[in-house]
């Protein structure tokens, strides 16, 4: 039987991390994954609109003009704009960030994020099971 194909948009500027998680996806026997990526807020918003993925993995800290400030605002904007767009609001967003303070997590959930994983505490396998559970919940 052919495996279901899941389209993932990874909004993340760290290439080593993108490679690591694409490796864990390659081990999954249940689904097939089509992984695309964007490295900034602007390209992320464009990509979610054009590719309409099944799920978005979002880092909260995204660079702008080389400047990488430690603020979750660009990530928050991504969630807010996606979730307020009637065509995109049903795309689940899994936040994947090393910002682990309660306030950031609460704001992300209030704006419509579906899960929040802290990078340094999440093994690739945890990431995969959260991803699969989220996809199943929305299918």
């Amino acid at each position: 039987m052919e495996k279901r194909k899941i389209k993932i948009l990874f909004v993340e500027d760290e290439s080593l991390l993108r490679s690591l998680f694409s490796d864990v996806l390659s081990l999954d026997t249940e689904f097939e994954y089509d992984l695309s990526s964007a490295e900034s807020l602007k390209s992320g918003l464009e990509a979610v609109e054009t590719s309409k993925p099944d799920v978005v993995i979002l880092d909260m800290i995204l660079p702008l003009n080389g400047e990488k400030i430690l603020s979750p605002e660009r990530g928050m904007t991504f969630i807010e704009k996606t979730k307020s767009n009637p065509e995109l609001k049903n795309i689940p967003i899994i936040v994947f960030s090393n910002l682990d303070d309660a306030e950031t997590k609460k704001r992300a959930f209030d704006l419509g994020a579906d899960s929040y994983l802290v990078k340094s505490e999440s093994l690739p396998q945890t990431f995969l099971s959260t991803l699969k559970n989220t996809v199943k919940k929305y299918s």
Binding site: S19, D23, P63, G66, K68
Partner: protein, 235 residues
């Protein structure tokens, strides 16, 4: 009194912000190292082809190196904040030999792997500075690392030009890499530019050595030039 109190509050807030960013940045390589190692723990490692297994090991190693650089950078940046600052031990340094040694010991193999060329121009007569070897080594290591990192195609050359006038020694480091926008140049030497403290520390070292550093670029994909001025050696 109120002003002094305000200064203290501003300083404490700044430090908190610095530590908050440092903590966050250190977690980046931890995620990579932990993630790569977890494949062994779960036996998933065996499921990857040999080439991929090697790649995972290399990635974990790159993560440890990134962490090492970051830890050194954080502690160096904190040293600048202390009243004493960094400790400077000046001694005469023949610049051309000094930079050649740094390149040969630390960068040659990485440059060759990327098919990058390196050359030193100028200094027909030996140019000497009276400076601190330890910290000047950090400066050139970081500048040469930076050039390697931001050159996106092979076959290009990183050139160091050494000149001296009556007042100072001028060191120009030019690459043909991805270049920078005017906006980026403005914040280049700020803390955590591109998530790193490297260029911030380079600037602070050069300041401590009573020199100057600036950067120029004609824009994206047009390369970058760093210009360092150090006081001339007075015998």
């Amino acid at each position: 009194m109120r002003k002094e109190l305000n200064d203290v509050i501003i300083f404490i807030n700044m430090e908190n912000e610095f530590l908050k960013i440092a903590r966050h940045q250190l977690k980046g390589p931890i995620t990579i190292i932990k993630g790569c190692l977890s494949f062994w723990q779960t036996d998933d490692f065996q499921k990857f082809p040999l080439e991929k297994q090697k790649e995972l090991i290399n990635r974990a190693m790159a993560g440890t190196e990134k962490m090492n650089v970051l830890i050194n950078d954080v502690f160096l940046a904190l040293e600048f904040e202390t009243e004493k600052g960094i400790s400077i031990n000046p001694e005469p340094i023949n610049l051309k030999e000094f930079i050649e040694n740094i390149y040969n010991e630390n960068h040659k193999s990485a440059y060759e792997k990327k098919n990058l060329y390196f050359k030193i121009e100028g200094a027909e007569e030996p140019i000497t500075v009276n400076s601190d070897k330890h910290h000047l080594t950090i400066v050139f290591q970081k500048i040469l690392d930076n050039a390697e990192k931001y050159v996106n195609t092979g076959g290009t050359t990183i050139t160091i030009n050494l000149q001296e006038n009556t007042k100072c020694v001028i060191i120009e480091i030019k690459d043909t890499g991805i270049g920078m926008s005017g906006e980026e140049i403005k914040v280049l030497f700020e803390k955590f530019f591109h998530g790193s403290l490297s260029l911030y520390n380079v600037k602070k070292i050069i300041d401590s050595l009573k020199g100057e550093i600036s950067a120029e670029s004609d824009g994206k994909d047009k390369g970058t030039k760093f210009i360092i001025k150090l006081p001339s050696y007075i015998k």
